[in-house]
């Protein structure tokens, strides 16, 4: 899946977000993709994907970022969501212990549904709200280490560590070769309506 553009390798990578409602998944993406933060982000954001490219040395990773579209609310994500994910960010809210417990469940789910090569990050979001902290950083860090995730505390509000999480994922993606679905099929796309009648067509 490596394309060459001006001598620069571009790697396409599907990245999925997981975590409780309100942990700040969408905020994290919006901060990364658009550099924005909205205090009261609506639950659904009305887009299936975000895409963002990131340069690491002389290589480029083009992230296709999938948000849960609210299907996580009643634990109803489809297998399709995990399929072919090169990377996943499991997000919890450091001011909400329950969201950390749920994050561990998402990690389990990912280990069961995703492929073993998926790069996993654990992001303790809302790191700007230190006074309300319920999840000690050490605890999350220890959990991440035990489970082969890399860990960062982030704040979509102040932008702390947000780009870093994605940059770290991009670096890891480029280190490990392969990852992409080896037998990818074709994605349907709208072509211009004019179509010369193919000579191989049934009646041509």
């Amino acid at each position: 899946m490596a394309a060459t553009a001006g001598g620069n390798k571009i790697r396409n990578a599907k990245l999925v977000l997981l975590g409780d409602v309100g942990a700040g998944k969408s905020s994290l993406v919006l901060r990364f993709v658009k550099g924005q933060f909205v205090e009261f982000q609506e639950s659904t954001i009305g887009a299936a994907f975000f895409s963002q490219t990131l340069a690491v040395n002389d290589e480029t990773v083009k992230f296709e970022i999938w948000d849960t579209a609210g299907q996580e609310r009643y634990h109803s994500l489809a297998p399709m969501y995990y399929r072919g994910a090169a990377a996943a960010i499991v997000v919890y809210d450091i001011t909400n212990a329950a969201s950390f417990t749920r994050a561990k469940k998402w990690v389990q789910e990912l280990q069961a549904q995703g492929n073993p090569n998926t790069i996993m990050a654990l992001a303790g979001n809302k790191a700007d709200l230190l006074e309300a902290r319920q999840v000690p950083a050490e605890e999350a860090k220890a959990y991440a280490q035990e489970n082969g995730l890399f860990f960062m505390e982030t704040s979509a509000k102040t932008a702390i560590n947000v780009n870093d999480v994605f940059y770290e994922i991009a670096k890891k993606l480029l280190q490990g070769q392969q990852v992409q679905n080896p037998q990818g099929g074709m994605v349907l796309n709208q072509r211009p309506p004019e179509r010369t009648v193919s000579s191989s067509s049934c009646c041509a």
């Binding site: 993709v33 658009k34 659904t44 954001i45 009305g46 887009a47 299936a48 994907f49 975000f50 895409s51 963002q52 579209a69 609210g70 299907q71 609310r73 009643y74 634990h75 109803s76 489809a78 297998p79 399709m80 969501y81 399929r83 037998q183 990818g184 099929g185 074709m186 994605v187 349907l188 796309n189 709208q190 072509r191 179509r195 009648v197 193919s198 000579s199 191989s200 067509s201 049934c202 009646c203 041509a204």
Partner: protein, 550 residues
């Protein structure tokens, strides 16, 4: 995924409480029609709650891991819901219990399930494909769902089973030219026929003001169009084998078109040409699809998931593992105004749409089991084997015309072979789906078994290997050995009347055209003023600067 086919005893569940409690539309079941409707309703700005009793998406349209197949086809009778009677309705409403029907019967499996069994994904709608130019593809493109599913071409094309052998289906001039099994006379007649049909299609698709002189002459007369297609083909001088190719492998006719009992099962020239036009428009539509047909990687169960995601992106709320126990009727007992979930929670809605595996309670007689008057049926088969039925092809369609397997075979049998490149089975193995429409279950199953016997040798008969009569160029081709198979019958019940909307079941066809047509009608029925999944109803990317097509 499909570990629990139906809702188990209600009390043990820890059902969530849904918030909010009132919606424009509540859909129960995540089959393809319900999922498309959910996407369409959400795109039209309606508030949507979409629930499914199962822990997975797709209902009767799902793809499930092989180990779960048995429990899906033969579910334990679900305990009648006690919840409905439990709580008193919160409003002045009547509560009507909802019951599920048995859809599958006569399930018979043989052979040992190969390991790792979980790596085999089984379609419940097989054999099925999409034409590159059909409505399913257009809906995927319009809704943005196309971005979630990858496809592969049925690259091996189609084969016709004829007089004990397999022959390539000459579906283009090039294919006719290259075909070494056809007689010169057959080639000429077929060539002439394709030219005639092409001229007709071109003439009818040209805008009226651009009609060149001679176009009208190129058109097949209306009189012919309304006559049986088989008559027309005979007039064109096509041999019986060429007629079978066109009727059953290109126009996809189901029932015997030469039979003594023509009745209403004959397709007209108009219908035949319509399918040929679609077939022809499908070839070359997508750069990577060699033939007319494509198949979704990971199985057909991806399609409902794609539409559900589109709906979710547009704000629809999703709850799996949530059965609907009962329906709520208004005071006059005329309209359904909501659903009582298995959790006991009442959800109010303006429109209620349910999966066809639920019986629609008729208002006069709440549940009438005998009501099924001669339902349509389809016999289906699933096979696992380790060698392609056609050397060098991974995905291929095989058509057995009526009477080609035995005199009693009244309808065509279609078989779709899929390989591991579709990620539905491990490398080195193949899967095949078969189906034939039937009114009598045992006759349908008999046809499926005959077709399986014609292509595969049974596992125990090593030593004495069956040979398939060979087509000219290939050398002796030893029949693949069958590892595992399952044959069953599915009912196709259609509920049309009543104040409650029920979606179509998977039908006997190779494609989704009729199912989506009914789905579209359902939508038009409830929202006559809304456009059905308008183009651009879902921007794929939120950011403007990205390319949405690659």
């Amino acid at each position: 995924m499909a570990d629990e086919p139906a809702a188990a005893a209600g009390d043990s569940h820890d059902y969530p409480t849904i918030d909010p409690t009132s919606f424009d539309v509540v859909l129960c079941g995540t089959g393809l029609p319900e999922s498309v409707l959910a996407a369409a309703c959400a795109a039209a700005g309606k508030t949507v709650l979409h629930v499914d009793p199962s822990p997975f998406y797709g209902s009767l349209y799902s793809s499930i891991p092989l180990p779960s197949l048995q429990s899906f086809l033969s579910p334990n009778p679900s305990p009648s819901s006690s919840i409905a009677a439990g709580a008193a309705p919160s409003y002045s409403q009547t509560v009507v219990d909802l019951h599920r029907r048995g859809v599958y019967s006569e399930v018979e499996t043989s052979g040992t399930v190969p390991e790792p069994a979980r790596r085999f994904t089984v379609d419940l709608v097989g054999p099925r494909v999409l034409y590159c130019a059909d409505e399913a593809v257009d809906l995927l493109l319009r809704s943005g769902g196309s971005h979630h599913v990858e496809f592969k071409s049925v690259d091996g094309g189609s084969l016709l089973y004829w007089e004990g052998g397999l022959y390539p289906v000459p579906d283009s001039k090039g294919a006719i030219f290259r075909d070494t099994t056809l007689k010169l006379l057959e080639k000429n007649a077929l060539y002439k026929f394709f030219n005639l049909v092409k001229a007709h299609i071109d003439a009818t698709s040209a805008p009226a003001n651009e009609m060149v002189e001679g176009d009208a002459a190129a058109m097949i007369s209306k009189e012919h169009l309304d006559r049986p297609f088989v008559e027309f083909l005979t007039q064109q001088g096509l041999s019986p084998k060429m007629r079978a190719v066109v009727l059953y492998a290109i126009a996809m006719a189901d029932y015997d078109q030469d039979g003594p009992d023509p009745s209403d099962k004959l397709i007209t020239t108009r219908e035949g040409i319509q399918t040929i036009a679609l077939y022809s428009a499908s070839i070359g539509r997508f750069a990577n699809a060699e033939g007319a047909f494509i198949y979704p990687m990971y199985g057909h169960g991806e399609l409902p998931q794609a539409f559900c995601r589109c709906a979710a992106v547009k704000g629809a709320l999703y709850v799996l593992r949530m059965p609907v126990a009962a329906l709520l009727l208004d005071e006059e007992k005329k309209h359904f105004v909501g659903a009582r979930l298995a959790s006991g929670q009442d959800i109010l809605c303006k429109q209620l749409i349910i999966d066809p595996s639920y019986k629609i309670p008729t208002l006069d007689a709440p549940f009438d089991d005998s009501g099924s008057k001669f339902p349509r049926k389809v016999a289906r088969g699933i096979c696992i084997f380790s060698k392609s039925v056609k050397q060098g092809s991974s995905n291929v369609l095989v058509v057995f015309p009526p009477k080609s397997l035995e005199e009693e075979q009244v309808a065509a049998v279609r078989l779709l072979q899929l390989s591991s490149n579709l990620a539905v089975c491990p490398p080195g193995t193949f899967m095949a789906y078969l189906s034939t429409p039937c009114t009598d279950a045992s006759a349908g199953k008999q046809s499926i078994r005959k077709a399986i016997d014609a292509l595969f040798s049974p596992q125990d008969s090593d030593g004495l290997e069956g040979h398939l009569e060979t087509t000219s160029e290939s050398t002796d081709h030893v029949k693949p050995t069958l590892i595992w198979s399952c044959v069953y019958v599915q009912e196709i019940t259609q509920e049309t009347s009543g104040p409650l909307q029920s979606c179509p079941m998977p039908d006997e066809n190779l494609d989704y055209r009729n199912i989506l047509e009914s789905t579209k009608k359902l939508f038009a029925g409830i929202y006559p003023d809304e456009e059905f999944l308008p183009k651009k109803s879902a921007p794929v990317y939120a950011d403007d600067d990205s390319d949405s097509a690659e």
